[in-house]
């Protein structure tokens, strides 16, 4: 990943960074390249095998991390790569969630709007709709920068809160919400219907959704990596580092800014679709804090900061920590019978996880502003050097 080595810089005023590693000889692919590929492959295989071993609750927690991963990749492209601070991620999540539910919802309901589309089409439609919504925000994004853009985008979260509550024919309202259509792929339902077994393990809703989410994460990941490494990624970083010089180099700054907003929103929209599929219900929030509230926007920011701004694999790790930690801690401590106290002073896993997650952000910002991605990169380099020494 040394070709994306400048990711760590978030500020627009940062001086151009010297290349971190000497340019690799491109024609010959070194051992390091193969090791990396093998490791990714091994990880993928492990993820494929996990549903055969893990209980439903761990799979459920894992799926939630994947939801976070897709959303965080989108935000790291926008904020890390293109330098646009956005707090509107939760709004686009809600937009994606609502679009999917409405598009795939049954037609003919007297109170709820539904188009009865095939769930796959509905998913693609939801991604397209959120991308368009992201584009619609472009005029604002083109005029504002930094913290001002962040505050302006925050307005969208409040707009989402209001619309979610008042557009009851779309969202089902805060009182009851509305269930989304079960996802289907060419007639194969991602539910408990039908008997399917692999190696003696019944593959039911939780396992099926795991594979669906895994596929979505892989697609999201590969597309993002491709974009970051390609021409468009260079344009994003150029705009981030200095708009004037980017313009001089022939980058159309407003177009690039609008484009990255659309891309990031599309990712958030996909994460929104995954959110409703995970919760089995679309329920707009009753207050600013909830499934699509400010807390979610901030959680996504936390993911990409912990992971390392701009780093796509870092976003995955950030999602793993921020979305996964509370869940995993809660599951572990319940399993081990910790903190069964019921009183006021009960030190529950939920409390512990908020401390850990707060501490993680502070530690990262203080000691490794490049995030976990920078740490990973350093470990990678050290390993490379020792291996080279041996050879």
């Amino acid at each position: 990943m040394s070709d994306t080595g400048t990711d760590a810089r978030a500020t627009t005023t940062a001086p151009p960074e010297p290349p971190q590693a000497p340019p690799r000889p491109t024609p010959r692919r070194g051992a390091q390249w193969w090791v990396r590929k093998a490791l990714w492959l091994a990880l993928f295989l492990v993820l494929l095998a996990l549903p055969l071993y893990l209980e439903a609750q761990w799979l459920k927690a894992g799926q939630y991390m994947m939801v976070g991963a897709v959303g965080a990749i989108g935000l790291t492209l926008l904020t890390g790569q293109a330098g646009q601070l956005s707090l509107a991620h939760a709004f686009f999540l809600l937009a994606g969630a609502t679009s999917y539910t409405v598009l795939s919802g049954p037609t003919g309901d007297p109170e709820l709007v539904g188009f009865g589309l095939d769930p796959l089409l509905a998913l693609l439609g939801a991604v397209a709709i959120t991308a368009v919504l992201g584009l619609a925000f472009a005029p604002v994004a083109a005029r504002l920068r930094g913290i001002y853009l962040g505050v302006a985008s925050l307005a969208l979260v409040f707009l989402g809160l209001y619309l979610g509550q008042s557009a009851e024919s779309l969202t089902g309202g805060t009182s009851t919400g509305r269930p989304p259509a079960t996802f289907e792929l060419f007639g194969f339902p991602f539910s408990n219907d039908g008997d399917l077994e692999i190696a003696g393990v019944p593959i039911r809703e939780t396992e099926r959704v795991w594979y669906l989410f895994l596929a979505l994460v892989v697609i999201a990941f590969l597309l993002a990596r491709g974009a970051v490494r390609g021409r468009i990624g260079r344009a994003w970083r150029a705009v981030r580092d200095n708009e004037a010089s980017a313009a001089v180099m022939g980058v159309n700054v407003p177009t690039v800014k609008a484009g990255v907003f659309a891309v990031s929103s599309a990712y958030a929209g996909l994460a929104g679709v995954m959110t409703v599929l995970w919760f089995d219900i679309l329920k707009p929030d009753e207050s600013e804090f909830g499934t699509y509230g400010i807390n979610v926007s901030i959680a996504y920011l936390a993911m990409i900061i912990i992971g390392g701004l701009g780093s796509v694999p870092g976003a995955l790790v950030g999602a793993l920590l921020v979305n996964g930690l509370p869940q995993v801690l809660a599951l572990y401590s319940t399993q081990l019978g910790w903190s069964t106290g019921t009183g006021e002073g009960a030190f529950t896993p939920i409390l512990i996880s908020s401390f850990v997650y707060g501490a993680a952000i502070i530690l990262v910002v203080l000691f490794e502003p490049g995030g976990l991605a920078a740490i990973g990169r350093r470990i990678g380099q050290r390993l490379t050097f020792t291996r080279r020494g041996k050879e």
Partner: protein
Amino acid sequence: MKRILALACASALVLAGCGTKGGGSDSGGEGAGGVQTDVGVTDSEITLGVMTDQTGPFKNLSTGITHGNELWVKDVNAAGGICDRQLKLRIVDHGYKADTAKTLYPQIEPNVLGLVQLVGSPVTAALSGDLESDEMTTTPASWSSELLSNPYLMVVGTTYDVEMIDGLSYLQEEGMISDGDTVGHIYIDGEYGANGLRGARYYAEQHDLKLREVKITSSDNDLTNVVTGLRGQGVKAILLTTTPTQTGSVAAANKALGLNVPILGNNPTFDPLLHQSPAANALDKLYVVASSVPFSADIDKAREVARKYEEAGFTEPPNAGVPYGYAVAEVWGTVLRKACENKDLTRAGVHKALQQTTSAETGDLVAELDFSQPGAPATRQVYVAQPDASVEGGMKYVKPLFESEDAKGYKAPHQQ
């Protein structure tokens, strides 16, 4: 390189050989005493789940309910348990976060017969489908009649909409409002407020009232401007489906602006702490309708629970959650005994027993309950109470349990 590939392959093989999780079937069987059992019941124990909020915004009330549940379990076990089995609670904290609850549920699900307590409207909404497919009888700590679309949710008490209807007929009976009047309704958007509003709309339609609806959010704490607006519209009464803090604000404004109309609130609008708030002197116009009693209410059973609470040495100040939690568990006791009589302590058996429960008694902690009609509230009776700082519990009852004609005729949203 090859070494690594080999290693990867080897580890994959090892993993594959480790045996998968497959084959975990929970087929039911016959247990001790010839009773059918499946999940959460052994020959010596019945385990019930509690999914509560010990760290989030509803931690005070939830902790009260949990302690109420615990007190009841202690009492029942001391008396020999149910169906020759001791009762056990499995308590988990979800911090009012639907996502955490969603992952904790599959963990607790294979271990419990049902859920005695499920706190939080977003949590309940997220789990509703799971509860239905697992046939998990559950008591939500919410009284919205919208929940009754799920036959496995057992709402202990009168729903918010019916409370409103009963309360309005009380006001009319006492001559405080009459047909054709204008009344204002301030409600929090969400499951709670929308359900209260539903009742007010029904009553307004029946009695030709002009209803002025004001939607607020749970964090709006100064409602003076709302009350000023309602005064301008000439309201004869103000209805509240709000938080206690908001009730205080409305009561204070009602007095300060010289409006002085009666205020009618759902059960959760009042908290004894209001007597220590700046609004303490403005509460004389407030009427609260409820089907469950506050802590240390002037009822034998409530006093007994209060005494046990003290003896148990819990450190938190008690609240209305304690008698409610005790009452809910008592209803569970009735249902479980019924299921035991039917020789069927499976989940399906418990659900059947619930539907056969036509008169669950809680010693007047909650009005008598009838769960036999799917989709209908289990009771339509309420108390009417007024704040009174001199009485223990902070409330005096101005009308004992009653059911109005309008409430009888009201059809709940999922009633069949």
